[in-house]
């Protein structure tokens, strides 16, 4: 009998399940079983589906990843090397999907609960039950796979009125080859709370390593009335790794969500951000930057669902594509019949640094209300010859001038970020990346 790859993940499940957190919780067992069934039914997506038209996940399916048996020891110096901010005052580190307590710092703060899921399931499983698997769409194959297979993850709960500017940093580090991890993150913010969360995904040996692994993350966020979340995603996987992620955000009345998604590493990267405005006056700002070179494929899909009136969404994504890389930006905005006075705009600008790089950019606006403001735009360009000559005529050599212009292009997104160390680290990283040879 031919074993399909879907069968492979189903038949492997029984032995893997023993090592997954929350095995004793009936509700979780049920949700995991349902997810696995869904995955068995749908299988991996194919390029025949509209949402995967440009991004072929076949190499991921064919790789038949396994759960890592052991996680290597990672010392704090290694963590600092791959992180732009470590050590952070609040940080949870996961290696191959498993919590690494020695590398983590979780200071006690009034009104803030941060812990690995394993612990949250023991102390407050009712809280997790309210959210986990109920926001993200389990009909999506990778979300289903994550739900069935997540070994651990992070639970962040903000009590009413909690406010802190100290970033809560979640590191998901992959080590070795042939392994998969399925990080699961829950952020549950009560009314009037405010926090900053950073998710970093990286290969232990840095961006240039040749490890083939799969990192498939799902983040579920609920923002209560007037809550505010600033969320940063730094994707810096190894050059040959696969990264798939879905973030599902549900916003109540007058809440605000600021998202900064930066994609830098990985051979095939798909980042989905879905936001639902479930209450009036909510606001969402989605900014992003993807930088691809070589043969990297970076695919961003965003979906903003204006369900209620008086909500605002602002979306600004920039792509820098070099070599034979391929970028995809698909920005979907739905304005439901009730969502009057919606204000939505979406911009995607791309810089192509080589003749062989390409971008598919597609705005998709579905508007069912009549009193709304919606704008969108997309541009694709190259480094301006006039700008280059201007800089060179002032003594700046060609390569340095190019780097300066690339950084200036990226800077528009980077400068919107509220964490100084992240801004500086990113700028330095981009300068280094485009240093010579381009």
């Amino acid at each position: 009998m031919v074993t399909t790859v879907e069968n492979y993940y189903v038949s492997e499940y029984e032995s893997a399940a023993k090592t997954l957190v929350g095995g004793n919780l009936p509700w979780l067992k049920e949700r995991r079983a349902l997810a696995l069934r869904r995955f068995a039914e749908t299988g991996f997506p194919t390029v025949h589906q509209e949402a995967w038209r440009f991004t072929d996940p076949t190499p991921i399916a064919e790789a038949r990843f396994r759960m890592a048996d052991t996680a290597p020891d990672v010392d704090p110096a290694a963590l600092r090397r791959i992180s732009l901010t470590a050590p952070d005052k609040i940080q949870l580190v996961f290696i191959n999907g498993r919590y690494a307590p020695k590398l983590s710092n979780v200071p006690a703060m009034q009104g803030l609960y941060v812990s690995p899921l394993a612990q949250a399931f023991q102390t407050s499983d009712r809280e997790t039950e309210k959210t986990l698997g109920l926001l993200a769409d389990v009909r999506q194959p990778f979300t289903a796979l994550n739900t069935a297979y997540f070994a651990d993850g992070a639970f962040i709960r903000l009590s009413t009125g909690f406010s802190s500017a100290e970033p809560i940093h979640l590191f998901f580090i992959s080590a070795g080859t042939g392994v998969m991890s399925h990080p699961r993150i829950i952020i549950d913010a009560d009314s009037d709370s405010k926090a900053t969360v950073v998710e970093t995904y990286a290969g232990l040996d840095g961006e240039s390593a040749n490890n083939v692994y799969l990192s498939n993350a799902v983040t579920e966020v609920r923002l209560g009335e007037n809550a505010r979340l600033d969320h940063y995603k730094m994707e810096m996987e190894s050059a040959t790794a696969y990264h798939i992620a879905t973030m599902q955000v549900v916003q109540e009345r007058s809440s605000s969500f600021f998202s900064y998604a930066v994609l830098l590493g990985g051979s095939l990267v798909r980042n989905n951000i879905n936001v639902v405005f479930n209450g009036e006056g909510a606001e969402g700002t989605l900014d992003g930057l993807f930088v691809a070179s070589g043969r990297q494929l970076m695919d961003t899909h965003t979906l903003i669902d204006h369900v209620k009136p008086h909500c605002q969404s602002h979306e600004y994504y920039k792509g820098i594509l070099d070599g034979q890389s391929h970028g995809v930006f698909d920005g979907h905005i739905i304005v439901r019949p009730d969502a009057q006075k919606t204000d939505a705009y979406q911009i995607n600008k791309n810089l192509l640094l080589s003749d062989d790089a390409k971008i598919n950019t597609k705005p998709e606006l579905k508007i069912f209300a009549n009193d709304v403001k919606c704008k969108h735009g997309a541009t694709v360009g190259q480094i301006s010859a006039d700008s280059l000559f201007y800089l060179r005529s002032r003594g700046i050599d060609r390569d340095a001038a190019k780097r300066l212009l690339i950084n200036a292009f990226a800077g528009e997104i980077i400068n919107r970020m509220g964490i100084a160390r992240l801004r500086e680290g990113l700028s330095e990283m981009l300068f280094a990346r485009f240093n010579g040879g381009h």
Partner: protein, 248 residues
């Protein structure tokens, strides 16, 4: 300092400069005037090395070196400066950062130590005062949202910062109101020195009322049709370019 002999150049297969001869020595200020389409801006851009312009004949040496064998950045480092007719906007790069990068590139080339942030701040403060430029301009992105006058003043500031041996000013007076023209002119005059030469490319002699040239050349159809002192500029102001074109 600059020796141009029988220079022929053009763009997109069309010859524009039909054999230009010009000799500029340290301390001299030359004005190159001429009607529209005579090749003034082409000449300025060819000297600075802009892509797209092809030199098809003749030669130019700058401080004894073959100008056309040098990249635009090498020309700048050797001391050639072009003040642009249309300065380019560069969003995302502050004027401050741009100038520091440029100055240090030039200093490095010239074997001088690079300036750190504090030293640069002092340097730029002096230069901004010299050319009467408000320092708030420095924290704005290069030329982005600048008025016409601000753009030209920024060019003069760049010249002050980079301390070139030869400055080529391409239509620096265009688009300036009388106040801006006076400020820019004072800036240019402040930068005149025994060691520095200037070539001012201009359609009108307006700028020459404030910055007095030692020599005036009239460019017609890609050739220098007439040369003289500053009285030639005054005559052009009165009589226009027609009589020279007829003489040719």
């Amino acid at each position: 300092m600059l020796e141009v002999k029988n220079l022929q150049a053009g763009i997109a297969g069309k010859t524009i400069l039909q054999g230009i001869n010009l000799s500029v020595k340290a301390g001299e200020v030359h004005a190159i005037m001429g009607p529209n389409g005579s090749g003034k801006s082409t000449f300025a851009n060819v000297l600075a090395g802009r892509d797209g312009f092809a030199v098809t004949g003749g030669e130019a040496t700058f401080n004894g070196r073959n100008l056309f064998e040098m990249t635009p950045e090498a020309r700048a480092c050797e001391g050639l400066f072009l003040a642009f007719q249309y300065p380019v906007e560069i969003p995302g790069v502050t004027t401050n950062y741009f100038l520091k990068t440029a100055l240090n590139a030039v200093r490095k080339y010239r074997g001088m130590p690079e300036l750190d942030a504090m030293e640069f701040l002092k340097w730029i403060k002096e230069k901004a005062a010299l050319v009467e430029i408000d320092q708030t301009l420095l924290s704005r992105a290069v030329n982005e949202g600048f008025s016409g006058g601000e753009k030209k003043r920024s060019e003069i500031l760049q010249m002050a910062v980079l301390e070139p041996k030869l400055a080529v000013l391409d239509e620096t007076d265009s688009g300036l109101d009388i106040d801006a023209l006076q400020i820019v002119s004072r800036g240019i005059n402040a930068l005149r020195s025994r060691d520095r030469a200037m070539v001012m490319v201009t359609h009108y002699q307006r700028l020459l009322n404030y910055v007095q040239p030692d020599f005036v050349h009239v460019l017609v159809d890609g050739r220098i049709a007439k040369s003289g002192g500053r009285e030639l500029a005054l005559e052009l102001e009165k009589r226009g370019y027609g009589w020279i074109e007829e003489e040719v």
